[in-house]
């Protein structure tokens, strides 16, 4: 099995999403507050996994723009959960050594006096292994 095929299977496994359920209505992309920031759009996550183009997906900046706000999950008429799919792709990346999106060293300059602890723990959870 090719690496990408393996990774595609892994993404389906981690996310629990069956991409075949998607009917390509685009309601996820219509709901996404980060749409304009993303290069690969929410409704496309599904086809990238289906076509096993994981290389493009894991290099996409969409991984770091998704807010896990679950608007796409809540409104999807086919119960596909695109937000879980992109999180699984993010997991594929951060679980590899040295692939953290947030480094401890960059923290000081990102801080301001009002930053709530919650922001730091959340970002660490999402961006790092």
């Amino acid at each position: 099995m090719s690496t990408e095929k393996k990774q595609a299977e892994q993404i389906k496994e981690i996310s629990g999403v069956n991409p075949l359920k998607c009917m390509k209505c685009g309601k996820c992309s219509a709901s996404c507050p980060s749409y304009n920031e993303m290069d690969i759009k929410p409704h496309q996550f599904v086809s990238y996994v289906q076509n096993e183009d994981i290389e493009s997906l894991v290099n996409s900046k969409s991984l770091w723009k998704c807010l896990s706000c679950f608007a796409c999950v809540e409104r999807c008429p086919r119960d596909v959960k695109p937000g879980k799919l992109i999180d699984a792709a993010r997991q594929i990346v951060v679980r590899q050594k040295g692939q953290d999106y947030l480094l401890a060293d960059e923290i000081p300059e990102l801080l301001d006096p009002d930053v709530p602890q919650q922001l730091l723990v959340s970002a660490f959870r999402r961006y790092r292994r």
Partner: protein, 662 residues
């Protein structure tokens, strides 16, 4: 001992590709009683049937086993074939080695093993079969149609034209149904009322049709050809024989705050009302929940102004009991409630409406007298957005799994009509797919795009956000242009999914007609018997069976009528001889069987019996074989084994089980 012939069908490759048919025939010869076995490509063909008939004559066969498809398909074929060769038709058993075996297995060895077992069970049963003779029952030459929309009206007219009496039972105060609420019809854009009202008038005037409006079916008993139905005629509080339909009572009625059902709650009606101007009958009803007289005892204004003296506050519900040979269900549909789709702000803004509400707004007799305007402030819209598939094609628990089928076309119609009448109004349609199979349908949709400039955007809407300036912010996506679209609209129209009328569950239960998970009535066969329920004598007309548009509904209504006429044209029906009977020496009169019988076929009588020389009077179960449908519930319930089913006796069933377990 029987002399049994076993005939194994290849069904082309349907069976033969997965089951070793020669092996099955070979193994059959080793079964007790089997004196002949063969396999053939198509047993159901003329040649196949001839082989059975020849074998019966040559080998003096007394019982036949056909290993083939489901008995639902061809049991009758083979029964008739053996009858022509002089054998009792009930000496045939079908072993289903297609649906139950070849179609669901891949491994040839396993499938063959199972086919042999199924064959053995059938042989074991035929060994105990006895010739049976069907009885006869009469046919009441009158049909009942439940629902007075276009489906019910068309079915009733066709049956009545064939010379049979028909009764229509309609729940609301008038016949007409959903079609009477529609403004124009696709793809011809003719006025819905203009083509519907002549049919309503014709039904009303037809000598063979009786219409019960404001009435509901309350109880159904009996069986095909001989149903007995109780109809509740709700108190109208208006004497239909006296009312002239002048309408003064409605004008004068001081209680005018009840949302109009006909106008989908967009305006109000009086407590005494006819739903719409062309209502049939043109006799109002008093909504007793809303009527001041009924609530407080005071008022009585309608009675005072009625010149004909037709108002009758003391009128009571009336139960009419009538016999019918056939029943047609035509209960129609409604739009789903949108309370689970709050992202579209339907409950938050009056300017977010359903398509059916738009029909009323566009209609000259509607709440805005046909002027396109916003329900919030009466202003004419400049930007209109249509959202397709709201609640259709969903696999979550919010919507319906099916395509509602009519929305693509009526939205194209709405868009076109608006652009035609108000060319300065921009119309945008967000769609997933545009589905237009049907004569002149795609051409119609293309006209909306090409001739009327309707802006079709492939993509869904995610959210509708009301703003302080009264406009609605629509956030959707354009999947072709790959961009999120944020658009200000004055009105948003939701193509809400349609669903069967919720009352259909109750009616289906009364009729013992089966219903699917979406509450659509099930056909006897999806392809070959699409207008019949599996329950004999029950026929299906219109959307109660599945989503369909007006022309399809009318065709199906005609088809249901033909099926009903075919039944009513018979003087007598052959009854199934596979009915239950009780052994009076074993019966202890416990009533268990009567309690489980779904057809009310079992009663009890005190009878003198001779139990091994001892004479005594006992309470014994009696089966009315005209009512018994042979379901077998009583036989498995009977604690003493007194109940037995002809053709499926306890001994036969056990012999089958033994054969399977051997």
């Amino acid at each position: 001992m029987q002399r049994i012939g076993v005939f194994v069908c290849h069904c082309g490759s349907n069976i033969a590709a997965t089951v070793d048919v020669k092996k099955v025939a070979e193994m059959a010869l080793m079964e007790p009683g089997v004196v002949h076995a063969e396999d053939y490509q198509y047993m159901c063909s003329e040649a196949g049937q001839a082989r059975i008939q020849e074998a019966i004559k040559e080998k003096n066969l007394t019982g036949i086993v056909v290993c083939s498809c489901s008995p639902r398909m061809h049991e009758n074929t083979f029964r008739k074939a053996v009858e022509r060769a002089g054998l009792n038709p009930y000496m045939v058993e079908v072993a289903n080695i297609r649906e139950h075996c070849s179609w669901i297995h891949k491994d040839i060895e396993e499938a063959t093993k199972k086919a042999v077992i199924l064959m053995r069970a059938a042989v074991a049963k035929v060994n105990l079969n006895t010739p049976l003779k069907p009885g006869e029952s009469r046919v009441t030459k009158r049909a009942l149609v439940i629902g007075g929309g276009i489906a019910g009206i068309q079915t009733a007219l066709d049956i009545a034209d064939a010379g049979y009496k028909v009764d229509i039972v309609e729940k609301t105060p008038s016949i007409g149904g959903r079609m009477s609420q529609v403004d124009k019809t696709f793809p011809t854009l003719d006025c819905s009322a203009c083509i519907l009202t002549p049919k309503m008038v014709e039904a009303n005037a037809h000598e063979n049709i009786t219409i019960y409006t404001y009435s509901e079916v309350e109880n159904v008993s009996g069986f095909v050809g001989d149903f007995t139905v109780d109809i509740r005629k709700k108190a109208r509080s208006v004497d239909m024989t006296k009312c002239t339909g002048c309408g003064v009572c409605q004008e004068k009625c001081p209680s005018k705050k009840t949302p109009s059902e006909f106008n989908r709650g967009l305006n109000n009606r009086s407590a005494i009302y006819t739903p719409f101007a062309q209502a049939i009958p043109n006799v109002p009803v008093i909504d007793r929940e809303a009527c001041i007289k009924f609530k407080t005892g005071k008022c009585g204004l309608c009675s005072k102004v009625c010149q004909a003296g037709a108002i009758d506050y003391d009128q009571k519900d009336e139960i009419i009991t009538e016999k019918y040979g056939a029943i047609v269900v035509a209960t129609g549909f409604d739009m789903i409630k949108l309370d689970k789709y709050d992202e579209y702000a339907y409950s938050q803004s009056k300017d977010v409406i359903t398509s059916l509400e738009l029909e009323r707004i566009m209609n000259a007799a509607g709440p805005t007298k046909g002027h396109l305007e916003r329900m919030s402030d009466g202003k004419p819209p400049k930007e209109m957005v249509f959202i397709q598939c709201v609640g259709s094609r969903c696999s979550d628990d919010r919507g319906k799994s099916y395509c509602s089928k009519i929305c693509c076309m009526y939205t194209a119609k709405h868009a076109m009509l608006i652009r035609d009448k108000y060319p300065d109004v921009n119309v945008t349609v967000f769609y997933i797919d545009v589905r237009t199979p049907g004569k002149n349908f795609d051409e119609f949709y293309r006209r909306a795009v090409e001739d009327y400039g309707v802006n079709y955007i492939k993509g869904q809407v995610g959210k509708v956000i009301p703003q302080s300036n009264g406009k609605l912010l629509v956030r959707g996506v354009d999947l072709i242009d790959q961009k999120q679209i944020v658009k200000e609209a004055d009105m948003v129209v939701l193509a809400a999914a349609i669903e069967p009328n919720p009352d259909v569950r109750k009616i289906a239960t009364m009729l013992t007609a089966s219903i699917d998970t979406n509450n659509f009535l099930t056909e006897a066969h999806a392809k070959l018997r699409p207008v019949e329920s599996p329950t004999a004598g029950i026929f299906l007309s219109g959307v109660c069976q599945g989503p369909k548009d007006i022309p399809e509904t009318v065709s199906q209504a005609g088809a249901a009528a033909v099926k009903a006429i075919g039944l009513l044209a018979k003087d007598k029906l052959m009854t199934n001889p596979c009915t239950a009977h009780s052994d009076e020496l074993l019966c202890n009169g416990c009533s268990n069987c009567a309690n489980v019988c779904p057809y009310g076929a079992i009663s009890y009588e005190d009878k003198e019996v001779n139990d091994h020389g001892k004479r005594e009077v006992r309470r014994i179960a009696q089966v009315n074989s005209a009512l018994c449908q042979g379901c077998g519930a009583c036989t498995v319930t009977c604690p003493s084994g007194a109940m037995d089913l002809q053709g499926f006796s306890n001994r036969q069933i056990l012999a089958e089980v033994d054969a399977i377990c051997r």
